[in-house]
Symmetry: C2
Subunit: 489 residues, 2 copies
Amino acid sequence: MADDKKLTTRAKDFSAWYNELVLKAEMADYSPVKGCMVIRPNGYGIWERMQRALDDMFKATGHQNAYFPLFIPESYLHKEKEHVEGFAHEFAVVTHGGGKKLEEPLVVRPTSETIIYSMFAKWVQSYRDLPILMNQWANVVRWEMRTRLFLRTTEFLWQEGHTAHATHDEAEAEARQMLGVYRDFMEGYIAMPVITGQKTDSEKFAGALRTYSCEAMMQDNKALQAGTSHNLGQNFARAFELKFQSEQGTEEFAWNTSWGVSTRMVGGLVMTHGDDNGLRCPPLLAPIEMVIVPIYKTDEERSQVLEAANNIAKSLGAWDRREYARLRIHIDSREGIKPGAKYYEWELRGIPLRLELGPRDLASNQGVLVRRDTKEKRPVSLDTLGEDVADVLSAMQRDMLAAAVDRRDANSHRKPMSYDAFRQLMDGEGGFVYAGWCGMASCEAEIKADTKATIRCLPDEEFRSAEVPTTCLKCGMASTVEALWAKAY
Amino acid sequence: MADDKKLTTRAKDFSAWYNELVLKAEMADYSPVKGCMVIRPNGYGIWERMQRALDDMFKATGHQNAYFPLFIPESYLHKEKEHVEGFAHEFAVVTHGGGKKLEEPLVVRPTSETIIYSMFAKWVQSYRDLPILMNQWANVVRWEMRTRLFLRTTEFLWQEGHTAHATHDEAEAEARQMLGVYRDFMEGYIAMPVITGQKTDSEKFAGALRTYSCEAMMQDNKALQAGTSHNLGQNFARAFELKFQSEQGTEEFAWNTSWGVSTRMVGGLVMTHGDDNGLRCPPLLAPIEMVIVPIYKTDEERSQVLEAANNIAKSLGAWDRREYARLRIHIDSREGIKPGAKYYEWELRGIPLRLELGPRDLASNQGVLVRRDTKEKRPVSLDTLGEDVADVLSAMQRDMLAAAVDRRDANSHRKPMSYDAFRQLMDGEGGFVYAGWCGMASCEAEIKADTKATIRCLPDEEFRSAEVPTTCLKCGMASTVEALWAKAY
C-alpha cells in the first residue's frame, strides 16, 4: 500500500482524519461551486438507507410526503420577524429568470416554513381539515462561509416535517413524538446514542416557541446537533393567516410544528464510528453488508472460488420472508489487485463483514469471516454461513451502539465542577458537562465567549443527573435547571 | 354532490378537465411562485411509487445513486456550445449569496451534464475507472412562460442518469438499454404504451449525438414525450477534458450518455387513464389499492362494520412473502360524510378498488367490490377476499394497458395520406400519423409551421409500418425514413 493512502490518525488531527476519510473512502468530494459538495455513491448509499428507514417511521406515525417549491418570494420570508432575522444572512437569491430581471427576487429555500404554511392557509378551513401531517425530502441552501463535507455545506439534503394542529397540546405532543422518532432512528440505525432535551432561547430555531434537539458526542468529545424538532406555536399561523373554524364555531390560528434531519447525520456516523483504518458502518445502514474477496493463484482456482462466491451470494442474497433477511453481498472479483489491497479498500469504506475465500478454505468447506468493528477473524463453515452472518451483523449493530454509549459516558462529567476546572476541561480534552444554570442569557453568552462551549440542551428527565445541581456553573447563583454544556460542530 | 365538484367533461374541454382533475383530486396545486407547483400527497404518493420502481430497475442494471450540486457556475454551461444555446433562455440565475454579489453568477441546474462530467473528469484516469454508471434524483429549474401542472413547470422533479464509457458502442448500448427500461416501466407500471425511436436533429437534446424518446398518446390524441435517453458522444468529454488512458496506452475522450424521466409522467398517467369522474390509477402505482367504505345507520352497526373492516385490513395488509402481496388498504371511517360522497371522492382520486361493507353484507359474510376502471360492481365472499382482490388488481393493470393500446392504435394512421388530408386531421381530431420523410429539416419545419405537428420520433423497427412509405409527406420526394407525426405537449 502506498503511504499516501493512509489516513492521518484521529489522535494526531481529528479534523484532518475526518476529511481524508470522507474523500478517500469516496463518500463525498468538493465541487467547483464553493461550499457545495458532491455526494458520491459510497456516501449516498448510506443516506439512501437512512431515508428509507426514516420514511417508514414517518409513515408509521401517520405522515404523508409532499413537495413544495424550491423558490420562496423574498417577501414571504419577511413575514415572520424572528425567522427572517435568523436566516437572512444565509440567503442565496435568484434575481434573474428566463433572461429577465425578476420583479421580486426569489430566495432559494433555507427551510420551508413560510411557503408551506402559506399553502396550508389555503387548504384549511375547519377543524375537520386538521391535523395536517406532512413531510418533504428536499435540498435546501444556506450560504455558509466555513464549510465541512456533510457537516456544514451551503446546499444540503434533508427532510422537513411540517404539521398543523388545532391545539397547543397536540402540536407539543407531535414535536415530542418526532424527537422520539429521531432518537429511535439514531440509536437503532446509526448506533449513535443521543441526549434529547430543549434548546435555550438563544439556541432555538428562528421563529419557534420551543426547539428540542438530539445531541450526540463525536470522538473528539464535541457535540453534534443531529436533529431538531420545533413547536412553532402560532407564530407562523399568524404571519400567514393559517386560521380554522373550531368545533365551537370560533375562528382560531392553527399550531405548527416542524422537524428535520439532514445529510449531516452521515458526518455524525463517520465521527461516531470511524477508526484510523477508515469508516465502520453500522450494518443496518451499510449499502453492502458483506464483501467476498476471492483468493487464488491459478485460473482454475479463480473460477472455482468465484463459483463458490456466486453460490453464496445467490443463496444468502435471495429474497426471504423479510427484507432484512436478504443480505446485501458484493463479490470483489477485480483482477490485477491483490487481496490485501482489496481488504484495505473495504475497510476504508467501512463494510461490516469480509469473507475471505480461497481454495484451501473451500476444500474444508469454510471461509474466513472478518468483522470490521473488532477486526476479529475466524473460520466459518459454509453450511451455516447464513445464520452466522445474520448473528454477527446483529451483534455488531448492538456492540457499536454499546461502545458509543460507553465512550460518551466516559467523557461525560456530572460531578460538581468549578468554573476554572470547566474552562480547563474545554481548553483540553472537552466532553459533555452537566451543570447548573441560573437561566440568564448573560451567563450563557459569557461562557461561550470564554470557552466556545454552549448549552447543547436542557436534558430531558431521563438524562438528568441523580443529584440535581443547585448552583449556576458561571455565576454561582441558584440554579433553575440542569444544562448540558459542550463545544459543538 | 354540489355541482362545483363535477369535472368538465373530456369531450367538452380536455385541457380544463385535466386541470380540474389535478386540482380537485388534490394531486397538485398552484404555488405563490409563478410556474412552480406544489405536489400534494395524492400526487406525490404516485411519484414515490414511480421512483421506487424505477430506482430498483436502475440498480438492477448496475447503476448507483449520487448527488451533485444544485448550482452550476455559469461558465460551465458555456463550455458546450449547443448545450448553452439550448438552455440559456431558461436559466434561473443566483447573483447574490450571503448578502453579497457573487463574483460569478450561479445557474440553478436545468440539467446536470456540465457539473457531472467536470467531476467525472476528476475521477477518471484509466480505462479501469470506466464505465461510470450513475443516477441522481433531483429537482431542476427551467424558466417557462406557459406552465401546466405536472406537464411543464419551472421547477420539476426528475432523475437524470449519467454514464461514461470507453467506446461509442458501449455508450450507444447503454442509451438504448435505458430507453428499454423506460419503456418497460411505462408499460408495466403506468400501463401507458409508448412508441420508442430516435429524435430528428431539430428535436434532439442540446449537445447530444443522438436522442431517443418514448412517445405516448394522450386521450386528446396528442403525443407526450415521456422520457428521453441520449448518446452524448464525446461532446461533453471534449468540453470538460474527460479523458482516460486506454488499455493500449493512448489518451482518449470518454463517451457519455444521459437519460431522464420526470414528474411529467404523473401528468401522462392522468391523461392516459382519467375519465369524466376523475383519475383511474394503475394498481401498481396507487398509494392506496383498496378503500373500504363502511355503511351503517346505528352506532352498533358502525362498530360492527368497522371491526370487520379492521380485520380485513389487518389480514390483507399483513406482511407476506413478497411485498406486492401486501395490500395497501385504507378504511374511510370519517363521520358525518355519507357513503355516496365518499365513493365520489375516492373515484375522483382514482383508487383502483372500493369495498362497500354494510351490516347486511356482513350477515352473509360478503362485501361489494367495485372496480374503478370498469365500474363493475359485484358481491365477494369475505373468505376469499384476498385472492379475489389480488386477481382483480392484476387484471386491472393488464386491462388498463390493453385499453390504452387499443385507443392509441385506433387513433394511429398508417395508410398513405395526402398532405391536405394530414392537415385536416391535425386541424381536427389529431392522432399519430406514420408517414415518409425525405430527411430535410425544411419539410419538418414547414409542417410544424402549418399544422403544429412535429416528428415525434423515427420509430424503432418494431413500430414501423409493414409497408414502408416511399415518399415524403410534405414534398413528395423519395422518403429516407418513416416518421411518426403528431401534435405534442
